[in-house]
């Protein structure tokens, strides 16, 4: 028997495998492929105070071992979430985490306050790293003062587990992680997408309507892993690691680097039942190596 349970700063995960915001819909899109309740948890779509239509098409481009997206936080807004989505999905897993975004601090705060009221949502993931919106988003996550400020204000109204999602598009991710830790974040998740671009040489036009977009997938894994390792050496709060995880081996790399749990993003698009395979693979890795508790490998490097 291998213990896969993680105490993620108070959030009890039955195993370290969650799914990444924006890549797993509201969970229900995957119910034909995954036993949702068997996941460590899942993080739903980026949610904002007001409904957003997102960016114009085209929003996607395939890149070497990765993809660019420029969805731009299309979502139906917090009211619709609370009133109709939440009641529908809350049965699926006890760790449904809402990814919260905003154009300004008030929006973040109001959205977080609303989610604080939702009984079975144990945590939010504060997205201060979305590269695909004109205002807010990544702007908050790329400087220490602004990151501190948004976390500080949200912390005042949000009483449950506050995870802050960091942007990799910075010189010093450690400083940002320390800044949000100081303001009372319960954990950090990293990384969000790298800002990238692709051009169609035939039409001589950018492949995305927004010109630049967020790069995800295996291509970014080495960068993500490095950042998780750096941050893990510098903060006390636990880390949720993500970026390009495609299989159990990748997930284990993140845990060895210092992540206490992981999120699976783009891989869900290619294999909608990949999360189940990753959970099983982690179990097999541990048992074949004689590791009786997954907690023993966290940060071994």
């Amino acid at each position: 028997m291998v213990n896969l349970e993680i105490d993620f700063n108070g959030l009890i995960l039955r195993n370290p495998v969650l799914t990444a915001s924006g890549t797993f819909g509201y969970g229900e899109e995957f119910k034909d492929f995954v036993n949702l309740n068997a996941l460590g948890g899942f993080i739903v779509k980026g949610t904002t105070l007001n409904p957003r239509q997102g960016n114009p098409y085209p929003r996607m481009a395939e890149t070497p071992k990765g993809m660019l997206n420029a969805v731009g936080l299309q979502n139906k807004g917090i009211d619709e979430f609370c009133n109709s989505i939440y009641p529908r999905i809350k049965v699926y897993n006890k760790n449904i985490i809402v990814n919260v975004s905003g154009s300004n601090i008030d929006e973040y705060v109001e959205c977080a306050a609303r989610i604080n009221e939702l009984e079975t949502i144990p945590a939010i993931e504060l997205n201060i790293s979305c590269p695909n919106v004109k205002q807010g988003g990544m702007a908050f996550g790329t400087s220490c003062p602004s990151a501190k400020q948004v976390v500080k204000e949200v912390r005042k109204v949000y009483k449950k587990h506050l995870m802050v999602k960091l942007s990799p598009n910075v010189t010093d991710i450690v400083a940002i992680a320390q800044a949000v830790e100081e303001e009372g974040a319960d954990s950090v998740s990293l990384i969000n997408t790298l800002l990238g671009m692709a051009i169609d040489i035939n039409t001589q036009k950018p492949k995305l309507s927004t010109i630049t977009g967020g790069l995800s997938g295996p291509a970014i894994k080495p960068v993500a892993l490095r950042m998780v390792w750096q941050v893990s050496k510098a903060v006390k709060i636990p880390i949720c690691g993500l970026g390009g995880i495609m299989n159990a081996g990748d997930a284990i790399e993140f845990m060895l680097a210092g992540a206490s749990c992981v999120q699976i993003g783009t891989a869900n698009f290619i294999n909608p039942s990949v999360t189940t395979e990753i959970i099983n693979g982690i179990y097999e890795y541990c048992s074949s190596k004689g590791i009786s508790d997954i907690n023993d490998i966290i940060g071994k490097i």
Partner: protein, 255 residues
């Protein structure tokens, strides 16, 4: 509708010509119910630069023999590397995906397919025919190499062919075909093909107040409504082509 992720075995690969091939696939259990206009997301193995799955329409389903057919045009690495699969290989599908064409109410129906857009129309004609309808079918292509398996279409309806260079059927674009001189013959038109062609047909149906459904193609990452990459602007805002399409009523589009 339940979706599946399955390995299907290649039963046959028909190379139609350098650009097109047909994969005939079977599953170890009875194939799921599939509807005309739906598609699959196929994984291309051993392709160095094909990272995402590729959406491909359901070309035909032969439930008697438990066979699903795909008609694929080689346009890039993914569709090319896939053309090397051989009988007894397996391909991995996520399916069936998307909505489907609405059922006709009578025989006054026209199916219009251009280029690779004819793919979903074979199963549509087949399906409608199983319900007793006899659609008029018009398929068009640049030249006769793009007219795939006309004999299959003929089984299910009255087939008309046109090619831009006149190498098969009548010469010209589909909208130049004489069928478009008789709007009074049709209550419903179903279209799939290049966007300019679909727009031209749509315009004609709007003018003549005919119900028209088009099947759209666009860039998809997931095919199951999770990524929100495949949006189409509609009168109801941005909708996902992979779940709320690929079939749209033209009156909902902002064309």
């Amino acid at each position: 509708m339940h979706k599946y992720i399955h390995d299907l075995r290649v039963v046959n690969k028909k190379r139609i010509n350098p650009d097109y091939y047909i994969l005939e696939l079977t599953y170890s259990d009875t194939l799921a119910d599939m509807f005309p206009g739906q598609f699959v997301e196929i994984k291309v193995e051993n392709a160095p630069n094909t990272f995402l799955r590729r959406p491909i329409s359901i070309y035909d389903v032969d439930y008697d023999n438990n066979i699903l057919k795909l008609l694929i045009q080689i346009v890039g690495e993914g569709t090319n590397i896939l053309s090397y699969v051989e009988p007894y290989d397996y391909v991995n599908l996520v399916y069936p995906l998307g909505n489907s064409f609405s059922m006709p109410e009578n025989n006054r129906i026209l199916l219009v397919g251009g280029g690779c857009g004819m793919a979903p129309l074979l199963y549509t004609a087949h399906y409608f025919s199983d319900f007793g309808y006899t659609p008029s079918i018009l398929i068009g292509a640049k030249n006769n190499l793009g007219i795939i398996e006309p004999e299959e279409f003929e089984k299910y309806g009255e087939l008309h062919i046109c090619t831009e260079d006149g190498s098969d059927g009548t010469e010209g674009y589909v909208t130049q075909h004489k069928l478009f001189e008789s709007p009074e013959l049709f209550d419903k038109v179903y279209v799939c093909g290049p966007e300019p062609m679909m727009k031209a047909v749509a315009k004609w149906t709007v003018k003549h107040n005919i119900h028209c459904e088009v099947s759209l193609e666009n860039l998809m990452a997931c095919g199951i409504g999770a990524c929100l990459c495949c949006v189409q602007e509609t009168v109801n805002g941005n909708l996902c082509v992979c779940t709320e399409g690929p079939v749209f009523n033209v009156k909902d589009l902002l064309w």
